[in-house]
Amino acid sequence: MLEIKNLHAQVEDKPILQGIDLTINPGEVHAIMGPNGSGKSTLASVIAGRDEYEVTGGSIDYKGKDLLDMEPEDRAREGVFLAFQYPVEIPGVSNMYFMKAALNAVRTHRGESEMDAMDFLAWVKERAKLVQMDESFLKRNINEGFSGGEKKRNEIFQMAVLDPSLAVLDETDSGLDIDALRIVSDGVNALRNENRAVLVITHYQRLLEYIVPDKVHVLYDGKIIRSGDRNLALELEEKGYGWIEQEAAEATR
């Protein structure tokens, strides 16, 4: 599904990603952990195609296509979804209107007909249940006046509506209390299937107790310095990021 090779990227001439290799197969859930500033969001942004992040080397193959060659909206239409770490507010534009435009853009791209209003309504209502989102949120403007937790829940709701092939969740757990964390995780788990790949970015091991990953990678200073199974996350939790830093330092010695 996704094959990242020796990816280098910089922002404002400052190198951030320094040779990332990562392969995710359909049906797999991978987790990326790492301290603040290690480049997790940068990786997510590069996958989604944000302009400010300049790719200076390497490649990303997505479903046999050169992902880096595609416009951000085309990546989305091809099934790449990013749940943002900081979802933006868009005043005056309702969630419902936004999701309809998004879903129809995706459908049109796939050569499918636009969904009519009734079918769409039924679909979003069903998907809202996955994250226990109250229907009143559909009518509200995108993220306007939402609490931090509601914004994150809204991201997963949007994922559920758009039904992507590859979902990148950037610190979806931050700002969630334990109940919300469970709800959001249940939503993500319900969306796990053999055709979908998920990349969970998190700072904490806690989320991975709910969304159990197939693989865990540790990102440090723009490089994946360790990969393993879910036990790596536990180890990391126990020993702290200091341990990784030490290892990294030793490795470069």
Binding site: A48, E71, P72, M99, A102, A105, H109
Partner: protein
Amino acid sequence: MKTETQNLEELANRDYKYGFVTDIDADSLPPGLDEDVVRAISAKKNEPEFMLEWRLKAFRHWKTMTEPTWAFVKYPEIDYQAISYYSAPKKAGEGPKSLDEVDPELLKTYEKLGIPLKEQEILAGVVAVDAVFDSVSVATTFKDKLHDLGIVFCSFSEAVQNHPELVEKYLGTVVPHTDNFFAALNSAVFSDGSFVYVPKGVRCPMELSTYFRINAANTGQFERTLIVADEGASVSYLEGCTAPMRDENQLHAAVVELVALDNAKIKYSTVQNWYPGDKDGKGGIYNFVTKRGKCAGVNSKISWTQVETGSAITWKYPSCILQGDNSIGEFYSVALTNNKQQADTGTKMIHIGKNTRSTIVSKGISAGEGQNTYRGQVKILKGADNARNYSQCDSMLLGDRCGAHTFPYIDVQNPSATMEHEASTAKIGEDQIFYCQQRGISAEDAVSMIVNGFCKEVFRELPMEFAVEAQKLLGISLEGSVG
């Protein structure tokens, strides 16, 4: 790496979609303006004596005036002697009685603009269209239905012929011929426009709609509209405009007067999409309009809603004189400037009567090198006890070469007044656009969506079919603002 500004520029570089010229023989006066021209216009229109006198009074006054320079707009000096003051499409004998008699060239033009008149006729009773083409009405529909209710909805020329007493009674009562430079000019030379009279107690059952369109080159367009709602009457009037592409700048100096008597309501909505000029600012319409409503009676209400996306230069302040006690004035505005467009627009709310209320909601959007100025005045006179005003002025900037300016003037002469003012300036964020793109929406659609969201409070004041058109227009006008 693309920057936001570059992106915005790409989107701004599209061609105007409505640029084409209809080939119709025009019956025009040669350029120039003197008393003889004024007399000729009046004679061509076969006007009664009072009209000619009024025009001449206006012309003599205009000659003593100088063009105002206080607005935040820049344009080359206008040579008023180089303008032709009359142009009408040639008609065979009388005016057409149905759409079948209308010049097919003209109908084709409307079709290109997406105004299917024929369809509108079939959609019986939804909208009555009094289509104005180059200053003279050529097609009027639904007249019979309105006639049964005693409502007069016709071209200004017809009103002068058929209802001279109404014209004489109300013409110039809101915008006198001395009012300002452009209004005086208009009073002297106006060729046509629309006239509406809704009699006592009648609620007009449909939106009255007029599409304006400027065609012949070098022809100043001087429309005059007069709408009177008698006691207890109500009416909603829609004005929409588009123009074909032109190289010369075209002057447009219209006057709109609204009169609401006791308990009457007038809602006046405009979606204006004249040719704004190309991306270098060449061509485009100069729009110097005087629009004013008088809430003459108690409990009357006048509401202006405008969506301005066209014109090279806009100079326009739809205003309300709140004379009757408990009367209400409203102004909802969206003004968009792209490329080198300049808009200086706003409103005046003059509170004279007791318990008068006014609401101002202004949304200015600037893209490209557009300059957008809100200029508003709220005046509470001594006798206006318990007057209330709420003003909200929001600006949105796309890119960093455009400008937004706000000049609110407040003059309160009665201490019982309640004034509220809110203002904000937002920059459309790259992060907002990216968020939309990440959900599969193109950058262009994203901008359109974000801007439409910003304007929601104004759009919801528009009649349904107009709201849809307005949203599309904003989309078209912003094409090229992001890539």
